[in-house]
């Protein structure tokens, strides 16, 4: 069975070296009905994806060991372009950085700081949440 076949619906992987950010993101995503796993860098995130491919990854850019962009490229090479949905959540807000992440296969991009409304809006655009009426 391929990793793609093992997608667990409503499973989210939060990847950030800040425990505070992971905690906040967990709270938002659990509020949207997702179960949440956490990783502190790109390497841990790749391992977590190999164990069980999540539906969506919230991905920081600047992390030790393996940064977000390196993870993004590795994940697309290993798992393909469809799954998981990858949303950058980062303080890197320069136009060129956003384009670089989109070119590498990110589906959406959240500029920190963010709140539940912004995150929910981005997930709705990806069809992962129902848009607010």
């Amino acid at each position: 069975m391929s990793a793609t076949d093992e997608i667990l619906q409503r499973d989210c992987l939060v990847v950030d070296d800040s425990r505070v950010v992971r905690k906040a993101a967990r709270r938002f995503m659990e509020g949207f009905g997702f179960t949440v796993r956490e990783a502190a860098d790109g390497s841990q995130a790749l391992q977590a994806c190999r164990e069980l491919l999540p539906e969506v990854v919230l991905l920081d850019w600047n992390m030790p060991v393996m940064d977000g962009l390196t993870f993004l490229k590795a994940a697309r090479a290993e798992f393909g372009n469809g799954q998981p949905a990858i949303v950058l959540c980062t303080t890197e807000i320069a136009f060129e950085k956003i384009v670089e992440a989109l070119d590498a296969g990110a589906q959406e991009y959240v500029m920190k700081p963010f709140d539940a409304e912004i995150l929910g809006s981005k997930l709705a655009q990806l069809g992962l949440l129902q848009a607010a009426a």
């Binding site: 807000i93 320069a94 136009f95 956003i98 384009v99 989109l102 959406e108 991009y109 959240v110 500029m111 963010f114 409304e117 912004i118 809006s121 981005k122 709705a124 655009q125 848009a131 607010a132 009426a133």
Partner: protein, 274 residues
Amino acid sequence: MTNDDFAEIAGVVRRRSGIVLTGDKAYLLETRLGPVLAKFGLASLGALGQRLKQRPDDVLERAVVEALTTHESSFFRDGKPFEHLARILPKLVSARAPGAALRIWSAACSTGQEPFSIAMLIADTLGPRPECRVEILATDISAEILTRARQGVFTQFEVQRGLPIRSLVKHFKQEGAKWRVSPELAAMVRFEERNLLNDLSAIGKFDAIFCRNVLIYFDAPTKTRVLDALSRRLMPEGVLYLGGAETVLGLTDRLVPVSGERGAYGISTQRAAA
């Protein structure tokens, strides 16, 4: 603030904007009129009520109305009307008389997210050189808010509410921590100060009108008056989009719901034939 003072302020707001302030909205006056009191050197809401009662003051009345007008907005707000417009755009374009422009009106445009969302939708749907001219008229009762809207500059927080990242990259330029709409997008939208209670015949007719979350602030007779005025600005095949909590039912027979499209209304066929 006495009941008379509240009635005086509410009366000015209703006369100038149609917005009905009931007694349970007194807190709005407390929270929003502070800067107006400071600007005009008034000690309290009571003093404001007295001033308004003593003599007409266009500048002060305008400031009061602007402070009490709600400017909540976001890009592609509520999604559905934009999806519907994208679907019917080809039909609207092909229905144009030769040389006529496709005209869309954002009737309470606030800080500009709605008209610029419409502009993005048209640019993405019809391409950079559509086969007909496109005019987007964006109006609001507030001159102050229109000044902001005309700038076409949005904060990082604003561009993340409802705007897909690819649309941001495609249609905006980054300026420090803010984002400015592209010159192409800005050129598609014309901003004008307009009060929906005034004569609107000079602005012509439209293929689509967005007037969302405006009627909820009016009483029933004012809703009817505004809906009738909007229906007269609509082309025979045009569509009026209202907010999710708004309806024409029981208010006018000039407009009927578009089947299966919540919040979308067209001209009644009986009316069109009349």
